[in-house]
């Protein structure tokens, strides 16, 4: 597909609807984004603390296994046997001393190198692997892997810069802010969304919709529009941070300004889930950071999570949440986190709409592949913004990244 056909101009504020359903684009994304010069989140170091601990993950459509090596380092291997291409790890997590493909018992070391081929010498002089077979040329494909703040990333690409350069200082600082000490996994959520992965990716960068689609705060009188905050972008616009913070003097409570007047206003009968214990050294209540293509790191009050977005063909995606606390949480802090997590996840008061809104777009745009969106809040610029966050700059940044990779 040529640029002229799909996207005749350089305008990333107007996205052709075809990109949300075209199977050819999905195939090209696998090659140019997921197997291209991007760093993809795989799992947390905390999930594989000891040598031999592994868990499976994906980069786009590609199955990956992440394993802690004997030296304590992290190996990211393509989960595909060099013999016939079967999954080597078919269980999602475990602890092993080596990997063995169940089909013909080919074995691999934790770094992916081939260590054994069953009946390589044949049986009683008959059969066996061809002469000149070189095990060193038949390991599991090993990817560049790096970790930062306990988050493990990998890339298929030799051209991608190192991970820190890829993320850039603005978003690295946001990660440092959240991951102040060792984390503990409180559990996992997963949602299957009836839409292309990019619709969810856009949504996470779209601060404009937050108080308009999600009216929970507003309905229960919790929205505070005088709060501070802003949008920050990596230099190339690929990654973003959106945050809100409470005013230091508590004046936010008096200054609420309604953007949607509701006929009825309710108070929460039990507001304890909105309790926020400041724990990250500032007064930031919400902080969402995204790393292109598919990672979201979330702090909503004391609800901490990473979300990995996984394409499931052009027409669906899976959103995988890993919900976190800190290792040193006491019982009462853990109880608070479990309560505040009612705000997020598949049944989250302020996130459930994100599960269905992509499907609403999918249902309406499928019949109009030549149509285009109009995302001009804040014009066409891809630049940081202030407290109102009424801008689509970060969404345009996503499309800048997508076009950079796709060369479309």
């Amino acid at each position: 597909m040529s640029t002229a056909q799909l996207w005749p101009d350089d305008d990333v504020s107007r996205v052709p609807y075809r990109v949300y359903s075209d199977p050819d684009i999905h195939v090209r994304e696998q090659e140019r984004i997921f197997r291209g010069p991007t760093w993809n989140f795989l799992c947390l170091e905390a999930e594989i603390p000891n040598p031999g601990d592994y868990r499976t993950s994906v980069i786009g459509d590609a199955p990956i296994v992440v394993v802690r090596g004997r030296d304590g380092g992290i190996n990211a291997l393509v989960n595909r046997c060099a013999h016939k291409g079967a999954l080597v790890c078919y269980k999602p997590r475990g602890t092993v001393s080596e990997f063995t493909c169940v089909y013909h018992n080919w074995t691999y070391d934790l770094d992916g190198s081939l260590t054994g081929v069953a009946f390589r010498r044949g049986v009683r002089g008959e059969g066996g692997m061809e002469a000149g077979f070189e095990p060193g040329a038949h390991g599991l494909q090993r990817l560049r892997a790096e970790s930062r703040n306990g988050l493990v990333f990998a890339t298929f690409s030799d051209e991608a810069p190192d991970l820190e350069t890829y993320i850039g200082p603005a978003i690295l600082a946001a990660l440092d802010r959240v991951f102040v000490k060792p984390v503990r996994v409180l559990g996992y959520h997963s949602q299957l969304l009836p839409n292309n992965w990019k619709l969810y990716a856009e949504n996470t960068k779209d601060s404009y919709h937050a108080t308009l689609l999600h009216v929970f705060h507003n309905t229960f009188g919790i929205v505070r529009f005088t709060m501070g905050g802003g949008i920050r972008l990596s230099e190339n616009g690929w990654h973003h941070l959106s945050f809100t913070e409470r005013a230091a003097d508590g004046s936010e409570r008096g200054g609420a300004e309604a953007v949607r007047s509701l006929k009825e206003q309710y108070a929460l009968e039990d507001p304890s889930l909105m309790e926020h214990r400041l724990e990250l050294g500032d007064r930031i209540t919400n902080s969402i950071q995204t790393i292109f293509p598919t990672l979201v790191v979330q702090q909503i009050l004391n609800a901490l999570a990473v979300r990995q977005l996984v394409p499931r063909g052009p027409e669906a995606c899976e959103l995988k949440w890993t919900v976190l606390g800190f290792e040193d949480d006491d019982e009462s802090f853990e109880a608070l986190r479990l309560k505040v997590n009612n705000l997020v996840g598949p049944a989250g008061y302020v996130s459930m709409e994100d599960g269905c809104i992509g499907g609403f777009i999918d249902a309406a745009t499928r019949s109009a592949p030549e149509g285009r969106s109009f995302m001009r809040m804040g014009g066409t610029a891809i630049e940081p913004a202030g407290a109102s966050r009424v801008t689509e700059a970060a969404v345009r940044g996503f499309w800048r990244a997508w076009r950079d990779c796709m060369a479309l």
């Binding site: 009836p194 929460l268 009968e269 899976e318 309560k339 049944a347 008061y349 459930m352």
Partner: protein, 159 residues
């Protein structure tokens, strides 16, 4: 008295049926009334449950939080209209600890969308702690353990 043997089993069966029908008939305002005031309601995945991970999809600690759930669903949350049809199995009464009966009951929930599309939205087991309050059985705790680790689109109506 909560009764014993068959009489208790019949009462728990009636409780389970009334609970399921209140949800299926969209009488969600009645739903918190199946619990004690300080009752606990959680929806969890089997994956988290078996790994001993405490995270819940829905975590209501007390009937007030349950009423907030219903109010949010009625007034704030946005979702495609749909209905549930619960089928609940026979309760297995696992034990008794003081005045608390523990029971386990399997469930299947078929979700029907506005479009007519139907799917098995959830199946699994209720793990219950049931007590007597003013002559009626109430859930002191109901944990819906879902077999699937994933939720199709979103969850808004309780299971």
């Amino acid at each position: 008295m909560t009764g014993t043997g068959d009489a208790l089993a019949a009462r728990i069966a009636r409780l389970n049926t009334a609970y399921a029908h209140a949800i299926d008939d969209d009488r969600l305002e009645d739903w918190p009334g199946f619990f004690t005031d300080d009752g606990l309601y959680r929806i969890v995945t089997r994956e988290n449950h078996e790994a001993g991970l405490p995270l819940a999809i829905v975590h209501c600690d007390g009937a007030a939080m349950m009423r907030d759930r219903v109010r949010a669903m009625r007034t704030a949350n946005i979702f495609e209209p749909h209905t549930y049809c619960h089928t609940v199995g026979a309760a297995e009464i696992v034990g008794k600890d003081g005045g608390v009966h523990t029971a386990r009951t399997n469930f299947i929930v078929v979700r029907t969308m506005h479009s007519g599309a139907m799917s098995v939205f959830a199946c699994g087991r209720y793990l219950d702690r049931i007590v007597e309050r003013d002559g009626a059985l109430k859930f002191a705790e109901r944990v819906a353990v879902c077999d699937s680790r994933t939720v199709d689109t979103l969850l808004v109506v309780p299971l």
